[in-house]
Subunit: 78 residues, 2 copies
Amino acid sequence: MAETTDDRLRLLIERVERLEEEKKGISEDIRDVYNEGKAVGYDAKIMREIVKIRKMKPDDRREHDSILDLYKSALGLD
Amino acid sequence: MAETTDDRLRLLIERVERLEEEKKGISEDIRDVYNEGKAVGYDAKIMREIVKIRKMKPDDRREHDSILDLYKSALGLD
């Protein structure tokens, strides 16, 4: 039996909703890992920075660091 | 053998990274579902709106709709 057009739309929307739920679950798992880090004495904010830094290519990271240093010294943030 | 502190930090960071990868995969799956909808003639932007609307409680949705209508007519968007 062929599904109606309405069914097809509903099924697509429900698939998105299930995936959004999964995504939310993973975000909660991520929060749990940071909390676990905090519980053993790590700084969660710095951990988040590390995750971002590790995502960058080494060249991009070095360029980022040198521009940041430049701007910091231009503004007396030594 | 007990893990060192550095290992512990590295393992936490790697767990976050794996979870972030999973989350990215799910975001891609969601995009695929919208593209599938588009391929069979649905408007993906409206589908995204439907997902948002279905997330709201009926009372909140009705309140949202009536305030939106109010603002629309105040601005001549009939």
